[in-house]
Amino acid sequence: MDNEKYTDINGKAIALNYQRHSSFCTEFTVSSPKVSIGKVMVATCFVWIFAYAVFFFTDNTAVLSSAIIITLIGMMLYIHFVKIDHESLLVIGSLGIQLSSSYASGREHTSFIEMSKIKDIVINEAIYMHQIIYYLCILLRDPADTSAVSSVVPLFQSSKPRLNCLVKVYKSCQEIISKC
């Protein structure tokens, strides 16, 4: 475990943990910063002030209650479907690679890709919004033609780490994949 500082492509600090379970099984976890209370407060205040302004002019109390409900539901949806706290990559030599992302609400989404389907794991470049970024991805083997790539599974999609972090993960993954 080293204390090198990593950031995502927008310059926010992220943390990379890796846990070696055995010589051919390693788990990488990229954690992005938690939901900041300040931002939540600002968003809530904004909605409520707006609602209060509407209430002031219309004298309709339904506006206030709907504002409260909208804020609550919006926050719940946000932490349940949007905000991802950790993304982890479990590489098990000769068995496969498991990607999982855990949302702020605790919901977890996991998928496992068998080693026989994996052709390689590479760092690629892509245009993302108005930036050109590096990202790590798994190349899936085309079942019909073993030398071809059928599709690409991008990793760490929500916390987009920068190149130095990707290189670290890439090297360990290659080490495990080449061994088995």
Partner: protein, 494 residues
């Protein structure tokens, strides 16, 4: 070299032209003795709307020039817009990296220009590739002009290559020329492909002739070798290879074909290329029942061009305007007799005895073609091998790359004007109205850049791994290592 204006219809001897070309190439370094050491390696970003998979002269110019510059040890990346599903980053031969940026195409493969929307992506390219010189191509390309503008905002040196000629008379030319004036007044150096083109560009953009160099195009002579055995005996074949558009004089061609075919029963036409004017040729073919003698091949791949060229005896070019015609050099390199219109920079391209020049009218072209046909019949023409031997040393890409490198050396030594002086120059150079408007746009662009730099600071962007240039990660031994494959598809090898 600025004084040496040449009229398009003045035909000069080849020796004189060669000496001029040499002066042009040596001039940049001669006029700027304080240029930094010649071995300095540049990091060049070529920007143009036109690149492969689109086909044409500009596209192959950019590709060949980049390959030769990489061979000389420079780092080259290309930025163009996305073509259909071809988006993102691709690698071509020798680690030539191409960014296909998702910008909206408006007309004729040229992107829409708003002066702003391409800044975020182009800035990203310039920053992550640590670009030192931005080289934009073709005045038709809106993206190239945008790139020149953004590069100046970011404080980079710029070079522009003009590939085409324009008129002065009509409304659209007046507007385009004004835009060109604005766009080029900031540019450090301009490259034109022929003297006619230089004259044209200097006049259109009211430039100082000192910063305009002439570097002609080139062809790869090894790709275009003659093979007389492919010619069919008992007939004379005329080959035309061009895009079938108005500028290339296809309406003239439609007039020539029936007239000559009536006179010479053994004359055949072989026409390669695609375009909106194809219908003209098809109608002519149907009207005069020439299906067996006029073959329309449709769009040709670059590698198939030679196979078509060697089947013919005469290469015909009917362009109405042309800065530098690469097609006639390719034709001559394959050992064909070249007949062409005398327009633009064409008279400069080939020595007089290898080309017959005619006026751009049906009658003059017919007369020229008939003269060549008579010569062919009498056998009074040089053999294809002789023609090839003379042409092969005229234009090579290495020569072009060497001369372009000198331009880069000169440009890299120049200082980039700070914003206030840039605005001042815009005002002085482009007139008070247009100058003020574009000065305002330049200020906005600068503010936009500041905003972007605040959102994503330069140091947060990852520096790209070099694929070419002095710090290239892919040595010559491991060039084809698929460590980083671009996009969902396989990288294109050209």
């Amino acid at each position: 070299m600025g004084q040496r204006r040449k009229k398009a219809d003045v035909s000069a001897s080849s020796e004189k032209r060669a000496s001029e070309a040499d002066t042009a190439a040596s001039n940049p370094t001669a006029s700027n003795p304080t240029a930094s050491n010649p071995n300095r390696k540049h990091s060049i970003c070529m920007v143009s709307d036109f690149f492969y998979p689109n086909m044409g002269g500009v596209e192959s110019h950019i590709y060949q020039l980049s390959q030769c510059l990489i061979e000389k040890g420079h780092k080259v990346v290309i930025a163009t817009h996305a073509y259909g599903r071809r988006k993102g980053v691709r690698y071509l031969t020798n680690g030539l990296k191409v960014y296909y940026l998702p910008l909206q195409v408006m007309y004729n493969q040229s992107t829409a220009t708003t002066c702003f929307h391409s800044l975020p992506l182009l800035r990203c390219v310039f920053v992550r590739e640590a670009v030192t010189v931005v080289h934009a191509h073709s005045s038709f390309s809106a993206m190239a002009h945008d790139a020149l503008f953004h590069a100046k905002t970011m404080g980079l040196n710029t070079v522009f290559t003009d590939h085409s000629l324009f008129g002065f008379a009509d409304m659209s030319s007046v507007l385009t020329n004004k835009l060109l004036t604005v766009s080029l007044c900031d540019t450090d150096h301009i490259v034109c492909v022929s003297y006619t083109s230089k004259e044209n560009t200097v006049l259109r953009a009211t430039l100082d002739p000192q910063i305009v160099s002439v570097i002609p195009n080139a062809v790869d002579p090894t790709d275009f070798t003659p093979d007389p055995s492919q010619r069919r005996g008992g007939r004379i074949t005329v080959v035309v290879i061009s895009r079938l558009v108005y500028r290339k004089g296809i309406d003239l061609l439609g007039g020539i074909i029936p007239e000559l075919c009536l006179k010479h029963p053994d004359l055949h036409f072989l026409i390669g290329g695609e375009g909106p004017k194809r219908i003209v040729l098809e109608e002519v073919r149907e009207k005069y029942q020439l299906h067996d003698r006029v073959r329309l091949l449709g769009a040709l791949e670059h590698r198939d061009v030679r196979g078509v060229l060697v089947q013919g005896h005469i290469f015909l070019n009917t362009s109405l305007t042309e800065a530098f015609c690469m097609a006639i050099v390719e034709g001559a390199s394959c050992g064909l007799q070249v007949v062409s219109t005398r327009v633009g920079g064409i008279p400069e391209v080939l020595p007089e005895d290898l080309i017959s020049l005619c006026d751009p009218t049906v009658r003059s072209l017919c007369a020229g073609l008939e003269a060549v046909i008579t010569q062919l019949r009498s056998g009074a023409v040089p053999s294809p091998a002789d023609i090839h031997a003379r042409v092969r040393s005229l234009y090579t890409w290495r020569n072009v790359a060497g001369r372009t490198e000198k331009v880069y050396d000169r440009v890299a030594g120049e200082e980039v004007l700070p914003l206030d002086r840039r605005l001042l120059r815009l005002r002085q150079h482009c007139g008070s109205v247009a100058g003020s408007i574009f000065a305002f746009v330049a200020v906005l662009n600068f503010l936009f850049l500041l905003l972007l730099q605040w959102l994503v600071p330069d140091q947060v962007m990852d520096r790209a791994v070099d694929a070419s240039g002095p710090r290239a990660l892919w040595g010559p031994s491991q060039r084809d290592h698929p460590a980083e494959e671009a996009g969902a598809g396989a990288p294109t090898a050209e």
